[in-house]
């Protein structure tokens, strides 16, 4: 067998979308991967191998039968939910939104319970930010707050933020200060010049005090020894000094902020802090998006509906209300009577109450691999794997769009095609 080498392949695990992978393909299988982290390697080696069986109500079925069943379930539902998309391409996502619109469905994506609060914070205060290449080329101060990229975005440090050698950071790590704020020591904090181990849930308080220090507001009730988030004020002054005196600072924030007490308010205050710093120098913030294309979901939702997540089409036009139209709340309350799940595994990621809500209603799932949801969903449609056997667009955590290529053949269709087939059938049912 000959081995084909594909260069500049995009990794589809996390939101850092490293696009310099080298994949070795033999007999239509990835046999080796270079320039990749451990998780990306597992994804490349296994992402197209463990296809679920095409099933309708537990029985093996043809694709045509599965499309018919999916369309029938969705057409008959009064209040369906269309949800997911974090591991599929924007092109499929666009059709997914159209399908939700036709069905007058609820529509949500995985950012809903992940970086969604950061997206809501942006609605309140905006977001001064930059692309990852700016961090690589210019950043002499890098802060990770509630993020542990050494375990979640493994090449982030080396490609973009910490060791990366850029135009004005030719020495890489030596040209930068690295600050980590987290609730416990992590592999990421081990590398830090300054590590702030803070009390869980104190992020809002800390960001508020930091803003006061940056803006030179009086803090009459605090002394240098006063603890803020478990850390003496004098140490926070050190961080403020770095923020004001750096040439170009980037604060990367993780779900340590968005999923902790305060949620969107934590991010809002952090963004205000970063904005304040721009009186003196350039400091930006960037969310450490998890799933590879979850930012793409926000982008597509926004350009088609105006809203990034938590949408309802039940009046025929898009409405937005987090908490009301968020996937977990809708499932917990039993607001939906059928669900179309695309490219995500709710049974692995949602609280058990929401999963139980899903199990009570007819559920259709499109997944390229066996998941905890494919085990029991009513209609299971195996699909090609985005970035291995399906092409299309992903949006990186900094909004840079990159096109995935198809390097393997797959006997199953891509999400895009499946959604189009279901849409055609739904439209047909609607018109007859």
């Amino acid at each position: 067998m000959t081995v084909t080498v594909h260069k500049d392949v995009v990794c589809t695990f996390c939101g850092a979308l490293c696009d310099d992978l080298e994949m070795h393909v033999e007999d239509n299988r990835v046999i080796d991967v270079k320039n990749v982290c451990g998780i990306g390697r597992s994804k490349a080696l296994h992402g197209d191998n463990d296809k679920p069986e095409c099933r309708v109500y537990g029985m093996p079925a043809t694709l045509e039968r599965a499309y018919d069943a999916a369309a029938e379930i969705l057409s008959q539902a009064k209040s369906p939910l269309v949800y997911g998309f974090s591991s599929t391409v924007a092109e499929a996502n666009r059709v997914g939104v159209e399908l939700a619109e036709i069905l007058r469905a609820g529509l949500d994506n995985c950012s809903s319970y992940c970086h969604g609060p950061g997206v809501l914070a942006r609605q309140h205060v905006g977001l001064p930010t930059c692309t990852l290449g700016e961090a690589k080329n210019r950043a002499d101060l890098v802060v990770f707050w509630g993020a542990n990229p050494m375990e979640s975005h493994m090449r982030h440090f080396s490609r973009y933020s910490v060791q990366a050698k850029g135009m004005y950071t030719p020495l890489g790590r030596k040209d930068r200060k690295l600050v980590v704020v987290d609730v416990r020591p992590t592999p990421s904090s081990k590398n830090a010049d300054l590590f702030f181990q803070v009390i869980p849930g104190s992020d809002y308080e800390i960001a508020t005090v930091l803003r006061a220090l940056v803006c030179e507001l009086p803090l009459p009730t605090l002394t240098d020894d006063s603890l803020v988030g478990g850390v003496p004020l004098s140490r926070w002054r050190e961080l403020v000094g770095l923020l004001r005196e750096c040439k170009y600072g980037v604060v990367f924030f993780g779900i340590g902020l968005t999923q902790s007490q305060g949620k969107d308010l934590n991010v809002e205050q952090l963004i205000r802090l970063v904005s304040d710093c721009n009186r003196y120098t350039r400091v930006y913030a960037m969310p450490m998006r998890g799933h590879a294309n979850v930012n793409g979901n926000n982008q597509v939702f926004v350009w088609q509906t105006g809203y990034p997540l938590a949408i309802s089409f039940n009046r025929g036009y898009p409405r937005f209300n987090p908490g009301e139209f968020s996937v977990i709340d809708m499932l917990n309350r039993g607001d939906v009577d059928a669900a179309l799940i695309v490219a995500t595994d709710p049974a692995a990621h949602l609280p058990h109450t929401a999963v139980e809500g899903l199990k009570k209603i007819p559920t259709i799932v499109l997944d390229p691999v066996n998941s905890l949801t494919t085990a029991w969903a009513d209609v299971v449609i195996p699909v090609a794997t985005s970035g291995l056997s399906a092409d299309g667009t992903y949006y990186r955590m900094d909004n840079v769009p990159i096109r995935l290529r198809k390097i393997l053949d797959c006997e199953w269709p891509a999400d895009l095609e499946v959604l189009q087939r279901i849409k055609e059938r739904v439209l047909h049912a609607k018109n007859h």
Binding site: I39, S112, E151, I255, Q261, A354
Partner: protein, 113 residues
């Protein structure tokens, strides 16, 4: 000893991410997502016997976990995202769409299996 109260935070770990991409039915994924990390002092106080698991209870449910100790604050327990943690997470999102994945009260004790 009596059950110990603490604060549970779900996290990502390299092992969990890696195992997840090899398949959610692989033994490593199941094991890693049911492995709780706590401070050496908390670990000691649990007084687990060799191979003994711990039971974790929240208002929402209860699970059995394997425990390991690592440097970190006392009274805060870390559990990788996954089906085990999902049993413990409450349904309230307080209007944000996000339940308390990070930071809710649990009780932990050595399990009598």
């Amino acid at each position: 000893m009596a059950a110990k109260q603490g604060f549970l935070i779900t996290v990502r770990t390299a092992k969990q991410g890696n195992a997840m991409e090899r398949g959610k039915y692989c033994a490593d994924y199941v094991a890693e997502t049911a492995t709780l990390t706590l401070s050496p002092r908390d670990y000691q106080e649990l007084a687990l016997k060799e191979g003994q698991r711990a039971r974790v209870r929240s208002d929402s449910g209860q699970v059995l976990v394997t425990c390991r100790s690592a440097e970190g604050p006392d009274g805060v327990f870390f559990l990788p995202l996954g089906p085990t943690a999902n049993e413990l997470i409450g349904e309230q999102t307080y209007g944000t769409g996000v339940p308390s994945y990070k930071g809710f009260t649990v009780e932990i004790e050595a399990a009598q299996e």
